[in-house]
Symmetry: C2
Subunit: 398 residues, 2 copies
């Protein structure tokens, strides 16, 4: 193994309070030493190593952990999006456009599309992703989506219960039977998680429970899409069943907040979705103040949030969810790791996976201070330099 030092870091965010100042564990004038694919040490600037990147005073943060994405899909819904934004309520399209295109695409095409989106995310500083299926909605196509997703991450989520597909519109329980039966059996080998969209118009509490129970019985961890469009049973069901995460949480009742604060379920906010659907934003401040463990994720998908920019989500969280810049950064890194129940990522403690983003800025506050500006000078995934901005002129030796 060769060692690599990222040296002359102006502000290093470790997310490890034992290593530095405050909850973000901030160290100034630091060097981060990487051994193979792991963090070896946090040292003072001027560290010795086999190779060296000169950060020249820049900020360095743990790579973003994007715990909620739908990267595997084909097709484009920009026209539907523009029509919705222009106020046309019944814009044509919807998820069926994506389902039809995803079913029709070749596996190679789906893989290339996913790879392209993953590349975009790496350039945006995302070093780990969860990826859901959910645009196949038939057994073979869902299994294929999970298989493609598994080429990019070990956090694959089977989301056959995304919506009831058109062909089952009049018999949703038959679709739940399929999801919990043959479809689950076909997808489980590629998946670590099962997810269900528990919302009016998708799956009700009883159906959602059936999906989660079947997933748990197959050895999968639980995740729930909940309370995106209004209050409902999703959040409390997630907590009750010990789900790792309840995602969206745009509308939370007092009882939802209380359940989340008392349970082991992370509330994962997806503010880019609320941006793109012109919904209200979730009240992140209220959740944090009540003791809820929170995460931020992009929800990359072609219908309601076609962004890979975690920085954009962080800026929205601060502007419109009343989170501080520190809280938003931690939610997008350590929070995402917690939502995936992982302790090897989301922080830069010795032994952690060497997933790092170098910012073209002197502090992480610039992620909010400079909205819309791509600030990732370099991204390192498991010790490998996966992206380096041509303009950043990071000194790299030898």
């Amino acid at each position: 193994m060769t060692t690599l030092a990222i040296d002359n870091i102006g502000q290093l965010v470790t997310n490890d309070p034992s290593l530095g100042e405050g909850p973000l564990g901030i160290v100034r004038d630091a060097a981060l030493v990487i051994d193979g694919n792991r963090i070896a040490a946090v040292e003072s600037a001027g560290a010795q190593a086999d190779a060296r990147i000169d950060a020249a005073g820049r900020a360095v943060i743990p790579g973003f952990v994007d715990s909620h994405t739908h990267l595997v899909f084909a097709g484009d819904r920009a026209d539907e999006f523009a029509a919705r934004m222009a106020g046309e309520r019944y814009a044509a399209g919807g998820i069926r456009v994506t389902t039809d295109a995803t079913r029709a695409a070749s596996t190679e095409e789906l893989t290339q599309l996913t790879e392209r989106r993953r590349r975009e995310g790496i350039r945006a500083g995302i070093t780990h992703v969860e990826i859901k299926s959910g645009y196949g909605l038939e057994t073979d196509s869902e299994a294929r989506s999970c298989e493609v997703a598994a080429r990019f991450t070990d956090d694959v989520t089977f989301l056959g219960a995304h919506v009831v597909p058109a062909e089952y519109q009049d018999r949703p329980d038959d679709y739940v039977w399929l999801v919990t039966g043959d479809m689950l059996a076909a997808c489980a080998p590629y998946s670590k998680w099962i997810d269900v969209f528990c919302e009016e118009g998708a799956f009700d509490a009883e159906q959602s429970r059936a999906v989660l129970e079947a997933g748990a019985a197959a050895g999968l961890g639980l995740r729930v899409h909940a309370n995106q469009l209004g209050e409902g049973p999703g959040v409390q069901l997630a907590v009750e069943m010990g789900a790792a995460s309840a995602d969206h949480c745009t509308y939370l009742s007092d009882a939802d907040i209380e359940a989340l604060a008392g349970g082991d379920t992370v509330a994962t906010f997806l503010p880019a979705t609320d941006f793109s659907t012109r919904e209200q934003y979730p009240d992140g401040r209220r959740a944090i103040d009540a003791g809820v463990s929170v995460a931020l994720a992009t929800n990359t998908n072609p219908g309601s949030s076609y962004t890979t920019s975690m920085s954009f989500c962080i800026a929205l969280a601060v502007r419109d969810m009343r989170m501080t810049a520190d809280e938003a950064l931690q939610a997008a890194t350590l929070g995402g790791a917690r939502a995936l129940r992982r302790d090897d990522i989301g922080h830069l403690s010795p032994g952690a996976r060497a997933d790092v983003a170098i910012l073209d800025a002197p502090s992480h506050a610039h992620l909010v201070y400079r909205p819309g500006v791509p600030l990732i000078a370099a991204t390192i995934t498991a010790g490998e330099l996966a992206w380096s901005d041509p303009d950043s002129r990071l000194g790299h030796s030898p």
Copy 2:
């Protein structure tokens, strides 16, 4: 002169209704032929030229015209920004931090900082900028800012009347006397425009009129910062005096709207500022429906809008100002040109300056559909390839 064809354009936005469909003058499966620094022709895909860029189905738009920036400054106010976002009302700092740093910086340093920001803007598709002074607030320092700005654009704006500097706090009229006298004389040689911040806490209507009259007498065109924080006299003063643009326009009375609709003054909206200051957004829809000519600009500055992302401004305009994607794109291109009273930029008619952005997307709607994602595959300024994304793999021959 050699000719260059951007070929195989999936969707070409010309902003010239005589060339294509609708107000955006959209042509599909097009080639854009450039001769030297000018647009030569819009043709069908497969055009002949000395050199060729294969857009491979991508969308191509006129480069963004950013008609309101403060690119010349030194210093960083991220901490003040983060504190304000965290709800600390009386966060330390303010414009004085920037003024002190700008006065103290060397001319070379100011030039490098401006160049870096300009480079960032070029990568964001901005092919033309207006640049204001306004962080010197003393004669030599203002003149130096105008001189530095003039290295990057012929649309330099003298903004000595940005705020009353600390040393004139008790005698603002003396400062107006300086601005309209020695300072104007020192700055006018580098400037095309004069601007004044007409707002409570900055300059009142009488002071603003004095500044604008002095500028006009010196041969400068007029611009006004108006109605950012509340209704006030700025917009109507701008229209009455024939200013090219009234900028901000966050709060507009019915009388303001009527004046703008009946005059020759463009309303320039700066929604990234309203984002970063947590103000309400201007009602773009209302202005457009009333017949007001509108522009979008970034207002890049270290205090209230430190972004160079016109795409971000476009996304905000659609999400929060009720503009359509078409209107927002046109406001950020042709609208900016109108706000600068130029007819050589902002559109792709034959004879226009060859300022072009190639999007890594099949349509301009993706600028809104994909918020936060850097979508500029290449930027061409006056016929020269100024930026090309390393991942976009644009075919370029020979």
